[in-house]
């Protein structure tokens, strides 16, 4: 098991106020190469959970084990190793790349930090391989984030996340700022990564159709807890909680909408 999470809590603290529990106790497990989708509306705590899992925020309670070891008991070296194992991709791809670094420099820096044993030639070869993996042309290497489209920036951040050979990728709304055609390509990339490299994925998204397309299992998050979780097929085909039903009903699906129109017109026609 990669992750065994029991009743995990995350809190935002501000001086002079009681802590705000954004994640109020969630439990799940994630095996090697599995994909878990976390869906919910804004403010449901899904991004907070993603941040805590990547150590960008501390957990406030519960037990989170990574490969059997409690995260809160990590030594310094273990934390460093964990950070390599668990990589993150954000919604704002352009914002997560350094605007003053070319794509080559950004990837090279990552490799220098995490693989100091690599020499320049090996890093160059690895960068070419990563670009190919992320589906980018080598022309982007000497370009800066502002010169790239949103989709290209998102691919570059995928390439950077893959540079350190993680076993888990935490992707927080990686496609919600992108055009539908680009979104399709990023989702295909995500699926290939899992299939070809065996990387486990935690995908945080508000669009259920997106999650349905790539994930084995889904957790529906609402007000800091999982309202419902299980195999994607069960949750999508027969949602039990009202909240999951309402989320599903809000998905703008072309076919469903056209069918509804046809049904609405049938009596008058």
């Amino acid at each position: 098991m990669l992750f065994e999470v029991e009743d995990a809590k995350v809190a935002y603290r501000a001086p002079g106020r009681p802590p705000f529990m954004a994640v109020r106790g969630v439990s799940f497990t994630l095996g090697e190469g599995e994909t878990l989708g976390i869906v919910g509306e804004s403010g449901s705590g899904k991004s907070t959970l993603a941040k805590a899992l990547t150590l960008l925020m501390p957990f406030a309670g519960g037990s989170v084990k990574f490969r059997g070891r409690e995260i809160s008991a990590f030594t310094r070296a273990e934390r460093a190793a964990y950070r390599r194992q668990v990589q993150m991709v954000f919604q704002d791809a352009a914002g997560s790349l350094n605007p003053r670094m070319s794509i080559r420099a950004a990837l090279d820096e990552t490799l220098r930090v995490h693989h100091p044993e690599m020499d320049r030639a090996r890093r160059g070869a690895r960068i070419a391989e990563l670009l190919d993996r992320a589906g980018l042309a080598s022309a982007v290497l000497d370009q800066y984030p502002r010169e790239l489209s949103g989709g290209q920036c998102q691919r570059a951040s995928f390439a950077r996340a893959l540079a350190v050979e993680p076993s888990v990728l935490v992707a927080d709304e990686p496609v919600s700022a992108l055009d539908v055609s680009v979104q399709a390509r990023i989702l295909n990339l995500l699926r290939d990564l899992r299939r070809n490299l065996g990387i486990a994925v935690i995908l945080v998204a508000h669009d259920l159709a997106v999650v349905r397309n790539v994930c084995d299992r889904v957790a529906v998050m609402h007000r800091g807890v999982f309202e419902e979780s299980g195999p994607a097929a069960d949750v999508f085909d027969s949602p039990r909680s009202d909240y999951a039903k309402s989320l599903l009903a809000a998905v703008p699906d072309v076919k469903r909408a056209l069918a509804a129109r046809a049904a609405a017109q049938a009596p008058t026609a």
Binding site: E41, D179, R185, L208, A250, P252, D253, K255, R256, R261
Partner: protein, 330 residues
């Protein structure tokens, strides 16, 4: 019946440092009074510029323009500088906008209520105006409208700000609401409430809606007519049922395929449109879509296809359209 808004052969070209680009090359479509029309396409196809050109909002005010924009009979020729007075009359009362980024549309240092009052037509008494602002906010479904009216934009969430921006757009009692990607920044549940709200208010007030989006799912459920735009030109247009259930232009087909469907086999790769929209100064000769098109033939790169092949109420511009019978499988 004369359409409320009629755009014919609209062209906009910009000159930057000696380079001329033409992000809008040939756009013609109309919005009927009380109608719900969509303008669809990827980023960079010229959808937003087209909508801004209706009232010559920046940056279209510095573009060299051709063609004509007629608004309920009042012609505002875009080729020459329409009088500022005529445009001022058109803005607000004639056409109101809701943009993608609500916090950018709101003044960060002014309370919401005052901003809404500012947008009202002249002659509304001050006391009544304040009350009307609150009732507008209430109609947008904000839980505590009186408090929202006293708030600054930074105190509200993205969805709440978008409702305030909508209340502001409605305050002017427009004939046409142009909603430019109004829900792209919002999550699906909020998206649904905001769009439902626009639907309800449009029905109540009789205003027409022009929705700009890249998400065909939104168009399928809510709009009457759809215009698909690629590289500065309309490539396919017609009634929503017809265009979306039997697309003829390969670009429309591609946009439809790219949306993950709720009943598609799970874990199946999505069909994307290869490549990206080229920048306006590098639009390919011939049919602009041909480098990305699976159905492209030699003729497609040689010359531009006829602007619109009429086919009932639907028009499309393509040499080798998706066959009508094969197009059925959405």
């Amino acid at each position: 019946m004369e359409p409320l808004l009629e755009i014919s052969s609209l062209r906009l070209s910009f000159e930057t440092l000696g380079c001329v680009s033409e992000p809008v090359r040939d756009v013609s479509f109309s919005v009927p009074a009380h109608g719900r029309t969509a303008l669809v396409g990827e980023s960079g196809c010229g959808k937003s510029l087209t909508s801004l050109a209706v009232t010559r909002l920046p940056p279209t005010d510095r573009a060299a323009a051709g063609g004509e924009v007629r608004f309920s009979g009042r012609a505002a020729r875009v080729s020459c500088r329409a009088g500022d007075a005529a445009l001022a009359a058109l803005r607000g009362r004639g056409v109101s906008y809701v943009f993608q980024n609500p916090s950018g549309a709101l003044n960060p240092v002014m309370r919401i209520g005052r901003q809404i009052v500012e947008a009202m037509p002249p002659g509304v008494p001050r006391k009544e105006a304040a009350a009307r602002a609150v009732s507008l906010l209430e109609r947008t479904g904000l839980p505590d409208p009186a408090r929202a009216a006293r708030s600054y934009p930074c105190e509200l969430s993205g969805g709440q700000c978008q409702r305030c921006a909508l209340a502001m757009a409605l305050a002017a009692e427009p004939d046409l609401l142009i909603a430019d990607e109004p829900t792209t920044a919002l999550d699906v549940t909020t998206q649904k409430t905001v769009l439902d709200l626009i639907d309800v208010l449009a029905r109540e007030t009789g205003m027409a809606v022009l929705l700009i989006t890249h998400n065909l799912g939104l168009v399928a459920g809510r709009m009457d007519d759809v215009n698909v735009m690629y590289a500065g030109a309309i490539v396919e247009s017609g009634p929503v049922e017809e265009v979306l259930s039997r697309p003829r232009h390969p670009y429309t087909r591609g946009l439809l395929d790219a949306v993950p469907a709720l009943d598609a086999p799970r874990d199946a790769p999505l069909r994307d449109i290869p490549g990206t929209v080229p920048p306006p100064d590098r639009w390919p000769a011939g049919c602009a879509f041909h480098p990305r098109c699976a159905r492209a033939q030699a003729v497609c790169s040689a010359g531009a296809p006829p602007p619109a092949t009429p086919c009932g109420a639907r028009r499309f511009s393509c040499f080798n359209p998706v066959p009508a019978e094969a197009a059925d499988a959405v």
